[in-house]
């Protein structure tokens, strides 16, 4: 747990007979944006709340190295009779009164709420509340930010703004945020942890995750003779399977990339058929996520 900003060891949380977290070993180095992904009920919120000190683990250890922590729940909610500025100022004064009040106006401006700062929260939209929650979490520039589904249920513009805010925090704060929107994770995260039914099934860099689950697959498009080509390919030792689709598209799974790169073109040339395209198929995070959480 030496240099981690946040780490857990064999962290377990049970609610009666239900195991919400099962021996989770989390490791978040300082200064990175860490994405916690997993299907609903995987334990993301429980893990974040334990890190925030809001819940006690049943077993295991938790280490939070940060001196200050900002927390954003998935659906931020505030006293409806406060103004947006009062909410952020309350967050500032409760956390660190030495921070000047001018920081409140600055963070409201960054969050795009400067014009609505003196309106009561009662009239705020869901996206505005989310941005207000984020502004409240970052106003004191905490060393660690725990964000639970910060961009969920936002419209594309709101989502874009929240992601930009998170990306801007990289390097200043360590950010751990949960999400089931994989595009968001892919866009802003340096590392990712995948939870499945309370278990951490993968933890590491995104490229590492993608390379671990990369499939050696090529897509070949021909004008005609796809069945004949498929038969030729299947006779090669480095081809494991070929799927033929109606539009002349062949999906070729291979066991040896080197051999494929050396021989695929010549096999196709030998068929005498017209080849439209040959391309390796990239593995998306969504496919990996489905594979890992299956």
């Amino acid at each position: 747990m030496g240099e981690s900003q946040v780490s857990t060891s064999a962290l377990t949380k049970r609610f009666g007979d239900i195991v919400a977290l099962d021996r989770v070993d989390l490791d978040v180095p300082p200064g990175i944006v860490y994405g916690l992904v997993g299907p609903n009920g995987a334990g993301k919120t429980t893990l974040l709340r334990i890190l925030a000190g809001l819940r006690e683990p049943t077993d295991g250890e938790v280490h939070v190295g940060a001196r200050s922590v900002g927390v954003l729940p998935d659906t931020p909610r505030f006293d409806r009779w406060l103004t947006g500025r009062e909410v952020v100022d309350l967050a500032r004064s409760l956390t660190d009164r030495s921070i000047p009040a001018s920081a409140v106006d600055e963070v409201l401006k960054v969050a795009g709420l400067a014009d609505d700062a003196h309106r009561s929260v009662k009239g705020y939209s869901r996206g505005m509340l989310q941005r207000l929650g984020l502004a409240s979490a970052v106003v004191t520039e905490p060393e660690l930010l725990l964000l639970d589904e910060p961009a969920a249920a936002l419209d594309p513009v709101g989502r874009r703004e929240v992601l930009d805010l998170i990306a801007a925090l990289a390097g200043h704060s360590t950010v751990v945020f949960s999400s089931h929107i994989l595009d968001d994770v892919q866009e802003v995260c340096d590392a990712v942890g995948i939870l499945r039914r309370g278990e951490m099934v993968y933890q590491g860099s995104l490229p590492g995750l993608l390379s671990r689950y990369v499939r050696n697959r090529y897509v070949v498009r021909v004008r005609s003779g796809e069945n004949e080509i498929a038969a030729s390919l299947l006779s090669e030792s480095w081809v494991t399977s070929v799927d033929v689709e109606a539009d002349g598209r062949l999906t070729v799974d291979v066991s040896d990339v080197d051999e494929t790169e050396r021989c695929l073109v010549s096999v196709l040339a030998a068929s005498g058929r017209r080849v439209v395209s040959i391309s390796p198929e990239a593995t998306s995070l969504e496919e990996v996520f489905l594979e890992v959480t299956r």
């Binding site: 927390v71 659906t75 909610r77 505030f78 009779w81 406060l82 009062e86 409760l94 956390t95």
Partner: protein
Amino acid sequence: MTLWKLEWLRIWRTQRWLILGSVYGVFGLLGPLTVRYLPEIIDRFGGTEVVGELPPMMPADGITQYVSSAQQFGLLAVAFVGAAALAFDAHCEMAIFLRTRASVRDIFIPRLGVNTVAAIAGFVFGVTLAYVGTGLLLEWLDLPAVVVGSVLQSLYLIFAVVVIGVVSSVVRSVAGTALISLGVLIIVGVASLIPPLAPWLPSDLLGALDALIRGSEFEYWRSIVVTAASIVILVPVSIARLERRET
């Protein structure tokens, strides 16, 4: 912005001060008015025979009427207003905002303090109206007795708000906190029907104002001690329970 200021703003902007002020104020006005004009009111509605059977009204009845109504409707208002502030875990996301930034003690004490002051202010406002109304319409009552009686009633109100605080550490919802608190206070009141127990219970203080203005002896030391001790014990118990609660 501090947590104390937050609570004053809560009472002010949600107009809960108006609920407390109007409940106590209305009964403070009606107490002496009904005593002074009850025969006329009954007569107006055709109850001439009943009027003849009514016992003569005493000036103290103006306060008695107020105290009787305040115990019921006032306490109901205090329970719901208090629960709305003290049950701060009722909304998980709002609780997360506070609990990740301040200690439970720092959250709880201002809520307890401001709601206690508001409840007492409401009660004293009503007593003042009842006292002045009684003096103008009937006869001026013994002011020291009114003041001492009001202080004892206020001590009971502190106890009542503290009970709401304890209940908020057991249940999360606002309605649940208010209703269970009222249930607890009613049980304490019913227990005072047992004669040997009555002088020891906080509910004994509820009759102090009425008794003192009628010239009764001051015999509330036992209930004062028990009530004060309950307050001193229950506040840290509430905080300890809230600290252990998961969000």
